[in-house]
């Protein structure tokens, strides 16, 4: 056959072109979670001071540790001391209610800032690993973050339990809205003390499917930090209807696209459907949540490719249903 060489060249070029077009930018490939265990050199004073604070002042309003543009909290400090407690049972991390606190928010922010600065070196994140904890059913896919998350889980649980006893409003810092689930849980405790089938703090944070827990610091893909911020934002806007809350097995998948400014441009579109009588109400509430939460301007424009197309899985079954 003639022209074999040109044809071959042409096809090779074609494949190359296709590769250039199809294959994503190299950064997007760096999605593999780097589960590096950060080691921080810590001043023992800071550790003892912070631990003392946390034990003495558990009732101070605590802050959600998923800041939008904030340095990591001093959390990482106690970690080295607590690494020993790895042998905690699985469910421990789970019961911790929300991504909050356990971090004592001292009455004077100046103090906090001082501490925060000291810790600014260890990179962002490890906090979030905690979020990355999977619920038991997803345990298989993410075994790595657990060990690290447990120690902080314990502290959080302890502080949280103290916090539970008193309802208090979260400080409205940085557009954080107070999480009403905690209040509801505390309020619902007026009920008599027969043990509930479900522990009151049974809501586990959902796992981001993407958005790797990037411990290594400079992350090119959407960090767990920001995924968590996104989740909390949507959770704060999602008003769960009564019939939906008590529903079993009800899930709504919503897909939408966003502009670089964080405004919804495509959708939201409900991807699934169920024959459940409350499904329509649930789907509407999910769509409403996505639209009501605009603009999502805390998402970084330089990583727009990572968050311009989003699927949210609304699953109310783990909420503090009264049933």
């Amino acid at each position: 056959m003639r022209y074999t060489l040109p044809i071959s060249l042409f096809l090779h070029l074609g494949i190359l072109l296709a590769a250039i077009v199809v294959l994503p930018a190299p950064e997007e490939f760096r999605v593999a979670p780097q589960e590096a265990l950060p080691v921080e050199i810590v001043n023992i004073e800071d550790v003892s001071k912070r631990m003392a604070m946390s034990r003495e002042a558990p009732e101070k309003p605590v802050e959600k540790p998923a800041p939008k543009q904030r340095e990591p909290e001093p959390k990482p400090q106690p970690r080295p001391a607590r690494e020993k407690k790895q042998a905690q049972p699985e469910p421990k991390p789970a019961p911790e209610p929300e991504p909050e606190k356990a971090e004592p928010a001292p009455p004077d922010p100046a103090d906090l800032k001082k501490l925060v600065e000291k810790v600014a070196e260890p990179e962002p994140k490890p906090e979030k690993t905690k979020k990355a904890e999977p619920e038991p059913k997803k345990a298989a896919s993410r075994p790595a973050p657990k060990p690290r998350a447990r120690p902080r889980a314990i502290r959080r649980m302890a502080a949280l339990q103290k916090q539970r006893k008193r309802k208090k409003p979260d400080p409205k810092k940085k557009r954080r809205r107070e999480n009403p689930i905690d209040e509801i849980a505390a309020l619902l405790n007026k009920v008599d003390d027969t043990p509930k089938a479900r522990p009151p703090e049974a809501d586990m944070t959902g796992t981001p499917r993407r958005g790797p827990a990037d411990m290594a610091g400079t992350d090119a893909a959407l960090s767990a930090d920001l995924v968590d911020a996104l989740r909390q934002k949507v959770e704060s806007c999602w008003n769960v209807p009564a019939g939906v809350r008590d529903a079993e097995g009800l899930r709504v998948r919503v897909r939408f696209q966003m502009s670089p400014e964080g405004l919804v441009t495509g959708g939201p579109e409900v991807l699934n459907s169920m024959a459940h009588p409350a499904f329509d109400a649930a789907a509407r509430s999910a769509v409403r949540a996505v639209l009501a939460c605009q603009p999502y301007d805390f998402l970084p424009p330089e990583k727009y490719e990572a968050w311009k197309d989003i699927i949210l899985n609304f699953d109310p079954s783990r909420m503090l249903a009264v049933n």
Binding site: E28, N239, A281, A292, I311
Partner: protein, 453 residues
């Protein structure tokens, strides 16, 4: 030059060119079909807020002042119903920015978003030529900017409140996913007069306290009205003639008949879910047992036996089980047994005495009255005995009855003191949103009707 050779080459070239074209086109098509792969971020949302939904309810439009008055009144009934459920927060009409003038055009959603309404109700009332009233409404989703629901109702002008209740039910269902309970009635015992000489009358009213109607005159003692689950019929006990008789009374037709005379009746009958049987307890010796009567054949069948006091039976919504209270183990506790009789299983194990069990129309809970250390409480428990929860406690709370959607309970509570008396209260299944039912005077022993047809 050789023609054949040229021709050959020409053909070959022509063929090759065609082949090239195909290759190029295929490649082009392939390239076009490609698109840069981008990752879709997927996140799980497992929590949300639980808050009353802010909803804007506008007065329904009307052409004439009379229609406009109906429009305003119907909107008022809807707003009151939704607000009382505790799941909605109707916004103050004074804060509305847009004035709806055309029922058929979509509203300016931006104006409603500003006042933070998540849903909007608009409507219209028309007095038809035949004298009937037609009301139509639309429920809008302010964020999604579309209509969720649109319905119309036609009825006689006297029933205008029912239109409001039916619309409220439709809105409730569309938003929460649960059936509503607003188009229902309550039958109860109205009490008046001094505490030692109460006059008790059978009365029925709408669940919001309006349209009160007295069914007996108070000269004879009447007790424990119960609603049939599928019709607007009630049973009650009347001591006319000195003997307790069970009456069956149709609220809509006013027809009254005697089901039977039971001299040894210790507890008023309840209907089975299919309305064909009633269940009651009759005294025997020192105790009482549960009997079932078929309404058509009027045959009695005994379901429990023994010397204990078995009383206050209630059917499950599927008609297969009965819950009742019994002191066979020493103190009043709750037991569940198959509807045809058989082995009864105890389900209550807490501290105190349990009585008046009522099975929820959803089947997932049994409500009861509990007495412990002099305090009364209304609580719920699952049919298998787990998940016991107290919803409200106080001085003399008693007699729970379920709303047809299984979400709200009504009971009565005595207020103390010489001028005290019973009042009706509702409480949500979560134990919150306890409200007093506005009834004129004292009221006790409520029974909640199914949704009116």
């Amino acid at each position: 030059m050789t023609h054949p050779q040229e021709a050959e080459r020409a053909t070959e070239t022509g063929g090759a060119r065609a082949a090239w074209k195909v290759v190029v086109l295929a490649l082009a098509a392939w390239l076009l079909a490609l698109s840069p792969a981008h990752a879709v971020l997927e996140v799980d949302i497992t929590r949300g807020r639980v808050e009353p939904m802010p909803i804007a309810i506008t007065s329904f439009l009307g052409a004439s002042p009379k229609e406009q008055q109906y429009g305003a009144d119907i909107a008022g009934v809807i707003a009151a119903d939704l607000e009382r459920s505790g799941l909605f927060r109707p916004l103050d009409p004074a804060s509305f920015i847009e004035r709806i003038t055309d029922f058929n055009n979509p509203p300016r959603f931006g104006d409603w978003r500003i006042i933070k309404a998540q849903a909007l109700v608009t409507g219209r009332v028309l007095a038809q030529g035949d004298g009937r009233l037609r009301a139509e409404f639309r429920l809008w989703d302010v964020f999604a900017q579309q209509q969720i629901l649109g319905l119309q109702f036609v009825t006689s002008p006297r029933n205008w409140r029912r239109i409001g209740h039916m619309i409220a039910d439709a809105i409730y269902k569309a938003v929460t996913g649960e059936d509503g309970y607003f188009d229902t009635r309550i039958v109860f015992i109205e009490e008046s007069g001094p505490k030692d000489r109460r006059v008790k009358r059978l009365a029925v009213m709408d669940q919001d306290g309006f349209n009160l109607r007295r069914l007996t005159d108070g000269r004879t003692l009447v007790l424990t009205p119960r609603f049939s689950p599928n019709a607007q019929e009630i049973t009650y006990i009347s001591y006319a003639g000195g003997k307790p008789r069970v009456y069956l009374y149709n609220i809509e037709t006013g027809q009254r008949e005697i089901v039977g005379s039971f001299p040894n009746m210790s507890f008023a009958p309840r209907f089975s879910p299919d309305g064909q049987r009633i269940i009651m307890s009759l005294q025997e010796g020192g105790g009482s047992n549960i009997y079932e009567m078929d309404l058509r054949s009027r045959q009695l069948r005994r379901l429990t036996e023994g010397p204990a006091i078995d009383t206050a039976p209630s059917y499950s919504p599927d008609g297969r089980w009965i819950v009742f209270e019994s002191d066979r183990e020493g103190s009043q506790q709750l037991y569940v047994m198959p509807a045809g009789g058989g082995q009864a299983r105890r389900i209550s194990f807490g501290q105190g005495r349990y009585s008046t069990p009522v099975w929820s129309p959803r089947g997932d809970y049994i409500a009861f009255t509990k007495m412990h250390k002099g305090r009364f409480a209304i609580g719920v428990i699952r049919p298998d005995g787990s998940g016991e929860r107290i919803l409200t406690s106080g001085y003399h709370n008693e007699g729970p009855t379920w709303a047809p959607n299984g979400r709200v309970l009504m009971f009565f509570r005595e207020s103390r003191g010489p001028n005290g008396g019973p009042h009706l209260y509702t409480v949500d299944l979560t134990g919150y949103n306890e409200r007093r039912v506005p009834a004129p005077g004292f009221a006790s022993d409520p029974a909640w009707s199914p949704l009116l047809k």
